[in-house]
Amino acid sequence: MTWKDELRRIPAPEPPQDLLERILASRAAGVRVVLPEERSTVSRRTALLVTAAAAAVVLVMSTRGGDRGPVDPENGYQDIAAGLSFLPPDAMAQEAGPPRRPRYQPVKSLRVARAHGGTWTYQTCTVFDDVLTNCRGRLTITVADARWEGGPAWLVSHQQKSVRGRAPDTLRTPPDSTYFEGSTLRPMYAAQGGVKFRFVRRFTGDTVREALDIGGAHPRSWRASAGIPAAQDAPLVLRWAGRVDLTLLLQVLSLDRWWRGSVYSVGVVGPDPSRTAFAPVDLRVVGSGRIEVPAGRFECWKVELRESPESMLTLWVSKDRGWLVKTEQQGPDWRAESALISATPPAP
C-alpha cells in the first residue's frame, strides 16, 4: 500500500448525533442560508479576454477628447461624495441590481436596559504579507446619555486619528454626532462636518432624508431621501467611514452559542435610486473564549459579521457587558485587527 492509499484511509470523524436536529431546528426557526452558486462554465481564459476587451474600450472612451462637458448633477453628487473622506467609499460603490436579502431572522428582542454610556478606544493594526505591520489608526467611540426632542436618547460620536510616532495625532475624520432612540436603538438624527461642509441625516419611521451642504468659493447643496426597509421598530446601525458601528447594538443583544440575527445598516442614499443605501448585516455567534487586549482580559463571544458574500469580519464581544473587544478581517495578503486599548468605565 502506497502512502497515497494511506492518505485516502486517514480517518475523519463522524458528524455529531445532534447535527440533524440542529439543522431542522434552525430551519424551523426561520434561519436561511444562501449557498454560493456554481460558477459559469465560461473558461477563465475567455473571461480574461472579455475583461481585457472591456478595459480597452473603457480606456479608449476615457481618453477621447480633452475637454470635459458640464458636470452632470447626478455624477456631480458622486464626484463630491467621492472626494470627501467621511463618505464611505463602499457605500458609493454599491452594486446596482436587486438588494441583498438578510441571511437570518431580523434582530427583535433587545435588552435595552443593558445599554450604557462610556468611551472606548481602539487601535487598528494592518499586517501585510505577515511582515509589514502598520498600527497608525486610533478610533474613539463615545456613547452618552442624552435627550432628543424631549425623549430619552443615546448620543454616539466617533473620532478617528492617525498616530505617527511622537508627532501630534492627526484627526482623520470630521466630528460627528448621532442620536439614537432609547428603546429601539434606531437613529433619529446624524450630523457630520463643520464649517466647510455639513452632512445631515434625519430619520422618521420609514424614511431617511439626507442633506449635504458644501461651503467655500463654490457652494453646493444636495438632497436625497429613501424608504427604510424592515419593520419600523427594528434596530438600525449606521455605516461610518466604511464600517458599521455596532457599539450600542452589541450591548443589548442576548447572545448565546447558537444566536444569529440580521439588522439593516444605513449608508449614503445619493441620487441614484437603483443603488441601495441599506445593506443587511448578518451576525452569527460561532464560538466563545477568553482573549486579552491592552484594555484587559475578557470572556467573549466570537461573532461573524457578514455585509456581503465577500466581506467577513470577526468580532469578539464581551459576555458581561456586550463591549466590542476586538475585530479581525482577513484578505488574501493582509490582515487587519482592531483591539480595545482603553475603556471608560474601566474594564473589570
Binding site: 486517514i10 475523519a12 470523524p13 447535527l19 439543522i23 431542522l24 449557498l35 452558486e37 467577513m312
Partner: protein, 177 residues
Amino acid sequence: MSTSAGNGSLTSLIAEARAGSPDALSALYLEHGAALFRLAFRLVGAREDAEDVVHDVFVGLPGALQRYEERGRLVGWLKRVTARVALMRLRSGRRRREVALDNAAEQAEPPRASERDGLQAAVNTLPDHLRAVLVLKEIEGYAHGEIAELLGISEGASRVRLTRALKRLRNELESGR
C-alpha cells in the same frame, strides 16, 4: 426514504427538499451527511467548523436546490456545494483553530508523539491553499479542472500546488522518522 432508490423517488425527494420538507432534508442528510461532514472536516481541519459548514449546507439546501438541474449525480453536486462553503470559510480566515477559544487550553498542548509521526499530522501542517488541493485531488478524486474551478485558480496552479503539497508532505514525513 433513500436517495439510492429509483430515479423517480430521487426526483420527488429533491422536489420535496426544494419545498423545504423536513422529512426530505432528513433523508438527504442521512444519506449524504456523513460523507459531506468528512469532506468538510478534511478541508477546514476542525470538527466544529465542519459542523458549521454542514449545518449551513443543509439549512441552505432548499434554496440551492432551486438551481440544481439534476444533471450528474446528486452526491457530486452536494460535495461541490460543501467544498465551496468550506473553501469560503477557509478564505475568510474564520476557522476556530486560529484563535484561542473554548478549547484553547487543549490547543496549547503539544501534539502527542504518535500524532506527530502520523500522516494525518503531516497533512495538518500543510498551509490551507496546499491542503485544499491535496484533499480534493488525492482523497476526493477531483480532476485538476474541477479543483481549479472550485478554488478560482488555473489548472496549472492546481498542479503546481499539488506538487508542492506532496513535496512538503514527503519532507514532513521524512523529518518525522
